[in-house]
Amino acid sequence: MESTANNRVIHVRELVKKFGDFVANDHLNFDVYAGEIFGFLGANGAGKTTAMKILCGLQRPSSGTIEVAGFDVYKQSDQIKKNIGYMSQRFSLYEDLTVKENFQFYGGIYGLSATEIKDRTRQMLESLQMTTSADMILRDIPLGWKQKLAFSVAMVHRPKIVFLDEPTGGVDPITRRQFWEMIYEAASKGVTVFVTTHYMDEAEYCNRISIMVDGRIEALDSPAALKAKYNAATMDEVFIRLARAGVRSMNG
């Protein structure tokens, strides 16, 4: 994977986000490149979700230069939104609509044509092997499947970058595995995947990871390089070594 300014899709310099006196993001600097799976790690409260929300245009940064998909978050958030997909920590499809209706709604508000919506819905249901469940109300579908559906919905408009906020929270290991297969497949098609997670084994699947502690990025490199640097056998060890230094983590 080439890391040049040409295929840079996320560009963050000196990002600061304050809530009153509380500094959620303390001068973050990083770049993410096309087709990369970028892991965003950190204990609870380290500031991952805030940073991700800023990149998605859900929150405004206090200061810093941020470009997503080549657009400025301050001025071109509409352009950005057309090019990104987002799957939030809280499950965010409509529980009282059917699978098909959820696709139809999100496809519709991204401006897809009726035939596009139909085709893509069919394709996605096929690849998820859920064709028979198309008319099921989402409430009646097991959590693991819902998560996979939410990912598909986030991809319905073929975004350049997809942001996943702890996508595998609460699902069983097998579904987690399948979920990561979907992520790999997306990345292989050139979609950049920006993912936050708690699971250190998942961190190993990423091309590069950054580890946040107390609002700052303490480490950023490939998993192998990080393990070498901290002389650790697993990512778990790397993480614990870094996170232990933090003050506001660990308490939930």
Binding site: G57, L58, Q59, S92, Y94, L97
Partner: protein, 370 residues
């Protein structure tokens, strides 16, 4: 436009699929209209009257028969003493006590003045003043009867002949007054609560974030969210008008089209207020309490069941900010008096300004980022 269509499609699907909400939206308002029209009444009839007749004369019996013949009174009991009568007022088993003193007939025949005592339970002040007015009316009538009885010598020629005519509701039917107001109440509740709750629900469930990352425009989202409830409330108003006509025989003197046209502007105000409540709350409970708070004040001051002109000046000025007051007035004018556009135009313009102001504040306050 296509994007708005997709939001509308989704909203209607959700509304019609919800087994709890749908009956609430359609059935409950009708039941309310029905029950409210019967319960929300300050009409006074069947006032319970207890009588202490210490005179036991032709005159006293004639007076009592005037009361028992009136549709406003039912004789609750005959008591032997004032104390017994007061006991009834205390226990709440009678509303009014009439005491006819001893020698009333004798005094009258001697052309002296005689007095009757009328005690009214006045805890409900407004009911008491009406009961008192009715009782006085009957006694004054009776006086005329005595005078005629006393022959031309006692009669005073009537110098002024007063003729009263009650326009727009000659039978003084209270439902005719209340139903147009209750209709306003119903569409207000539907519009305000449902629109506010709907957006807060997306906040609570987290689905609003998913929408916020899409390139959807603020106005598209707002229209998609408000239009379904706007349509529902108008639909409900039409059903309510039919119901008022068929069940309560409330007249529709003016133009239905004019009424619906004004209602559609009024609903913009109501929906805007619901939207505003949703932007300042995080949970449905909060949104409901905030809406409830304002709705109660709006309704109490709206003139729904108390005359607006009787309020002090400051309250009347405050009432200029009360959309419910405007629409109740308009609704009664159109339905009962047949007022046309020209006559309600002043109020209508006020509603338009209100709608524009509230909607722009609400849209401004609703941030996609936050």
């Amino acid at each position: 436009m296509r994007i708005i269509f997709y939001i509308l499609q989704k909203e209607f699907r959700q509304i019609f699929r919800d087994k709890v909400m749908l009956p609430i939206i359609i059935v409950i308002p009708m039941i309310q209209l029905f029950i409210l029209s019967y319960t929300a009444t300050f009409e006074i009839k069947n006032t319970r009257l207890s009588i202490v007749d210490q005179d036991k004369s032709t005159t006293s019996r004639a007076l009592i028969s005037k009361f028992s013949g009136s549709s406003f009174f039912t004789i609750a009991s005959y008591e032997t003493s004032y104390e017994d009568g007061m006991e009834r007022i205390k226990t709440g088993t009678t509303d009014q006590l009439l005491v006819i003193g001893k020698d009333t007939e004798k005094k009258l025949s001697r052309k002296e003045e005689a007095s009757v005592l009328l005690v009214t339970n006045a805890i409900n002040g407004s009911a008491a003043s009406l009961m008192n007015a009715y009782a006085s009316g009957i006694i004054n009538d009776f006086n005329r009867f005595i005078l005629e009885d006393q022959g031309p010598a006692g009669a005073v020629p009537a110098l002024i002949a007063v003729q009263s005519r009650h326009w727009y509701n000659p039978k003084l039917d209270y439902k005719t007054f209340m139903v147009p107001g209750i209709l306003v109440l119903l569409v207000t509740l539907i519009g305000m609560f449902l629109s506010g709750m709907n957006i807060v629900k997306e906040k609570e469930k987290g689905t609003i974030e998913q929408i916020n990352v899409t390139p959807i425009k603020k106005y598209q989202f707002m229209i998609g969210k408000l239009l379904p409830f706007w349509l529902l409330a108008l639909f409900e108003l039409m059903i309510g008008l039919a119901f008022a006509r068929l069940v309560f025989s409330i007249p529709m003197e003016g133009s239905v089209v004019l009424l619906l046209g004004i209602a559609s502007v009024y609903l913009l105000v109501v929906l805007g207020l619901g939207l505003l409540a949703s932007t300042v709350s995080d949970t449905m409970q909060q949104a409901m309490f905030i809406s409830w708070f304002f709705v109660v004040i709006f309704i109490l001051m709206s003139g729904l069941f108390t005359p607006v002109e009787s309020m002090p000046a400051w309250a009347q000025n405050l009432n200029r900010l009360n959309p419910v007051a405007y629409f109740i007035q308009i609704n009664r004018m159109i339905m009962l008096k047949g007022s046309g556009f020209q006559e309600v135009s002043g109020l209508f313009v006020a509603l338009c300004v209100y709608a524009a102001a509230i909607l722009s504040i609400a849209v401004k306050r609703y941030k996609k980022t936050a």
